[in-house]
Amino acid sequence: MTATRFDLPVIEEETRPHWEAARDRRLLIRRCRACGVAHFYPRPFCPECWSEEVVWEEATGRATLYTHSTVHRNDLPPFGERVPYVAAVVELEEGPRMMTELVAAEPADVRIGMALEVDYRDLTDEVTVPVFRPVAGSVA
């Protein structure tokens, strides 16, 4: 018996390629061939223009920090064991934003606009989630 945990994503047919890529240390987003805009999370149609010509694209993994909060309390397992951690909204080089976690950064050093790169955290044998870390040298 494992304890109930709330950090595991629900992997569905539509989004399985994203998660399989994450296990291979690749970040997949989607781009619309009709209007050219990239989006996240992956949708069956473009949220900008409703075109169904949306294709997977591997992101560079480069991003900047848009906003953040250091979480000191979270009673939902297993997040309580991880506090304090930095919840972050990052802006990918391709345009879309992601809600994620900032790792390998001291909360006091975290600044809006700092340069980040994707990293990965293995949650189980099957599930790996993208997280982000400061680009070396970007921490003041």
């Binding site: 595991l8 994503p9 909060s69 979480v71 939902l76 997040f79 909204v89 909360p107």
Partner: protein, 391 residues
């Protein structure tokens, strides 16, 4: 010209708090009796021909079957038409909006809107806020309620120079107002230093930047405006209302310095009511966290974007200020029993417009009051109701 087709002729609530000794049905009955007892010319409960029940998460108090068929029996109205309304934190204010439409359509004559929520009977990891705010079902997990608001505070501070002291001023004001409200969960003063020294929850929000988890119930009685004089010589009319949605997931927010659902809902309500912020004598707004009130007062048009942090700090939103905000103590001090919250805010507006708010009475100049809730995942839904004494 205000809409004014519906009148509020009764309103009431039970004292909010940690009501371990009261069950869901008892709380509902208490709120209903309070509303019935408030009708100036008396009120026969049998007149109610439809009820709308706001409960956000009926599964948390241990009797999973709660729904539109539970409350009528509890309040002695078995047989009445009754529907449960769930719309996240604005559940109560949306039940009110739906109740108004039911009366205005002519389908129902006398409508009860009642909000009831049990928040404290379960531990916090089993509680509504932890379970309800899990993030996107696919991509992001663990977004507890403060995680949904704290990144807005970070960005608001970054863009506009909003300070921790400005956030704290909201908590200080609303706790002070709570000391004047016999229905408030917290009835103690706090200082700026208390707020700044409180344990951190989600930076920059500390414990006193967060509303408590509170049990409570509230109810209002609606009739057609043409019949209002049968029940009271001091009716309050529904001038207008509006609701709107926005992206529920944080990564798709346009920015992190405002809540677009509020702006859209307010625009619709102001248009329907034929008034703007300048005509309001007071407002009850959604201050689940201190930053939320700052976002609200900007998004509702009480000040320019980016200036919301100054309003509480400079006393503009105090009970004797330019535009009093949350004279009841707000969610921060009165509490936030989710389904009941909006209905209780409307009750406060009703008391204020009828000059029955005792020590926390605001000055009436124009006769309009605004009530607002915003919530759901990523503040993806908002409701604004505007009440008036002007016919």
């Amino acid at each position: 010209m205000a809409w004014n087709r519906v009148a509020v002729v009764g309103a009431g609530l039970i004292p909010f708090g940690e009501l371990f000794d009261q069950g869901y049905e008892q709380m509902a009955a208490g709120a209903f009796r309070a509303a019935v007892g408030s009708v100036d010319h008396g009120f026969d409960p049998a007149l109610v021909d439809a009820a709308f029940v706001a409960t956000q998460r009926g599964t948390l108090w241990g009797q999973e079957g709660i729904g539109g068929n539970t409350v009528p029996t509890a309040i002695g109205l078995a047989g009445v038409a009754c529907t449960r309304i769930e719309n996240a934190c604005p559940s109560g204010s949306d039940a009110f909006r739906v109740g108004c439409m039911a009366v205005a359509s002519g389908v129902h004559d006398v409508v009860l809107v009642i909000g009831v929520e049990k928040m404290r009977d379960k531990s916090s990891e089993e509680g509504l806020l932890a379970r309800a705010a899990g993030g996107h079902p696919v991509y992001t997990r663990g977004e507890s309620a403060p995680v949904l608001f704290a990144p807005f505070a970070t960005r608001h501070m970054h863009e506009f120079g909003t300070t921790r002291e400005m956030l704290a001023a909201v908590a200080v004001k609303n706790h002070h107002n709570g000391t004047l409200d016999p229905y408030a969960h917290f009835r103690n003063e706090v200082t700026v230093d208390d707020v700044l020294a409180a344990p951190p929850v989600c930076h920059p929000l500390g414990l006193l930047d967060c509303c408590p988890q509170t049990d409570g119930a509230a109810a209002v009685l609606l009739v057609s405006a043409d019949r209002a004089q049968d029940f009271t010589d001091r009716p309050v009319y529904v001038a207008g209302f509006g609701t709107a949605t926005d992206h529920p997931y944080l990564h798709e927010k346009a920015d992190f310095v405002g809540l677009p659902a509020t702006t859209l809902a307010a625009g619709r309500a102001y248009e329907m009511a034929g008034v703007g912020p300048a005509e309001l004598d007071m407002a009850e707004v959604h201050d689940c966290f201190t930053i939320t009130e700052i976002l609200d007062v900007e998004d509702l048009g009480f000040c320019d974007k980016g200036k919301g942090g100054v309003l509480a700090l400079e006393g503009e939103t105090a009970i004797d200020g330019r535009l009093p905000v949350n004279p009841s103590g707000g969610l921060l001090a009165k509490g936030h029993p989710i389904g009941a919250t909006g209905v209780a805010q409307l009750t406060e507006c009703w008391w204020q417009l009828r000059e029955q708010a005792e020590d926390r009475q605001v000055a009436l100049r124009h006769g309009f009051a605004l009530q607002h809730n915003v919530g759901g995942r990523g503040s993806g839904v908002a409701v604004v109701n505007v009440l008036t004494t002007n016919r």
